[in-house]
Amino acid sequence: MQQSFSIFPFNPPGDSAALRADVRAFLSLHQAKLGVPNCWVVADAEFSRALGAAGFLGMVLPQSAGGHDRHPLERYIVIEELLAAGAPVGAHWIADRQTAPLILRYGSEEAKARYLPPICRGELYTCIGLSEPGAGSDLAAVRSTARLTTEGWRLSGQKIWTSGAHISHVMLALMRSEEGSERGAGLSQFLIPMDAPGVTIRPIIDMAGEHHFNEVFFDDVLLPEWALVGTRGAGWAQATAELALERSGPERYLSSHVLMTALIDFAGSEPEPRLRALIGELTAELWTLRQMSLSTAAKLAAGEDPMVEASMVKDLGNSFEQALPQRVQALVDCPSSRDDDVARLMRALLIAAPSFSLRGGTREIIRGIIARGLGLR
């Protein structure tokens, strides 16, 4: 009988409870930094270095690369604890989640030696150069170019909506390396030092007044040959495989979790019926999403492609974390003069939430991927 979701058991090796306790002990030492809404885009280099020193970054990388040879599901336990606590993990998030695994798998020896150890120490941060002015949801429309010359690669063009470019040391960019190529063919991935001559970063301030994303310009940027990641011309396949890492994690439903925590604390042990019901509904949805996310992580860890499952978790999770502040607002009286945790977090998340179903692939693109999995397109 047809099944809408393949279920994989979440069985990390070792003592999960002890690992979880270790993370919570670490977090208790950094209490003042916690409780941040949408915390995985909030950078705190000091916190990232502390995480690195504690062995919580580069967990799945080999020790030879500065990592810790841990299982992907052990890493999952660590990151879900960090996210649930609202820890400011934004500085290293992309490097630890996807750039490091990609460099390990496809990168040159020079790239591995140069970049992986500092990523594991929480000292080197990366950003993802995908979107361009003419290539948003339609990523295959990428036009920025890379040309191989006798001196090395020369890059020209522009990226936009690049989160964290201004705090990153390196960008992993998708560029058109083959002249005259179209769509997904002829693309390659490159590691670009953000301080290379010819790289210009301009901030784009978001509607909350925050500086997260940027425009990045490449004016004849010269890179050594080893900056190419993986196979020349195979960038599309590598970048889309990377999306499985980008879209499958618990950050796709936990961005508003600190508000849920604050709401429950505000409600007390005997909340009035409507508040109690809202907490019950949110708990059922959170618990179900977590089960779906655990299964997806387990499928990915088993070496299978969870593209459809990851898309389902992301779509459902984004809708959950996006609706949460509005559901709180509808029930709890939070005039603008109120400034306790519930009101403060609610207001911050109301403004941040529209981005949840845009970043990492819009809701419409994600549902299109699910529809393809269903055999509709």
Partner: protein, 236 residues
């Protein structure tokens, strides 16, 4: 899935196909009432994961028959009844989804199959995701019952969450199933109502949304914010 469970599901598929017209008799004759009874007592020695797998198929093939009540036997407690309905709904929803995909891939309008319209693709993606949520929640509730050796109180958190999430999904899933089928799905002759009719009733059975939201909300409030997260992660 274990080999034993695969065999069990194959048997259930065959027996329930017969039961679709013959009623409960073939299901009783095949011994499904002994599913949870220990092998040492002459039963099948199955676990709650097996019950979930069988009831999922029952929800798809014989949603009108009280298969869960037959398997459990005797008086059905509200949480166990809720678990039964979650399992049936998981199967019925996947079956209604399969019908919807098949129909929209076949039915042509404006010179192409309905499934080629993005508006249709997008709502079916939502449907599939809701069905997935119910299937995952039900399987996790079964796993909780197995960890608790069938102690309903020890698995109440998961059962409450699964039934509430299923109730939420039923509204959206049945609405989309009917919407993409158009008028034909609203007729007595077309089989969609054999799935959506029971699904709509199951939302009320053994605790509606308000009931389970109060139960789960009460548990969560007593745990407190950080306590709820600790409890969710402790339970697995």
């Amino acid at each position: 899935m274990s080999e034993q469970r695969t065999l069990l599901c194959d048997t259930a598929q065959a027996v329930f196909a017969e039961a679709a017209t013959a009623g409960l008799a073939p299901i009783e004759a095949a011994g499904f009432a002994q599913l949870l009874i220990a092998e040492s007592n002459g039963g099948f020695g199955g676990d709650w994961g097996d019950v979930f797998a069988v009831l999922r198929i029952a929800g798809a093939k014989v949603p009108h028959l009280p298969v869960g009540e037959l398997i459990i036997g005797g008086e059905i407690s509200q949480p166990i009844g809720a678990f039964i309905r979650v399992a049936q709904a998981a199967g019925a929803m996947d079956a209604a989804l399969a019908m919807s995909i098949d129909y929209t891939n076949t039915r042509q309008q404006f010179g192409k199959p309905l499934s080629k319209f993005q508006a249709v693709q997008q709502v079916l993606a939502v449907f599939a995701t809701e069905a997935a949520a119910v299937n995952v929640a039900g399987a996790a509730a079964a796993a909780a019952l197995d960890r608790a050796n069938g102690d309903v109180d020890a698995a109440l958190f998961e059962i409450a969450a699964a039934k509430l999430r299923t109730n939420q999904a039923i509204g959206q899933a049945t609405a989309i199933a009917h919407q993409v089928h158009g008028a034909i799905g609203f007729t007595k002759d077309y089989d969609l109502h054999k799935l959506t009719g029971p699904l709509l009733n199951w939302r009320s059975d053994y605790g509606n949304d308000t009931h389970w939201a109060a139960v789960l909300g009460g548990i969560a409030a007593k745990l407190g914010g950080a306590g709820l997260w600790a409890e969710i992660t402790r339970r697995g």
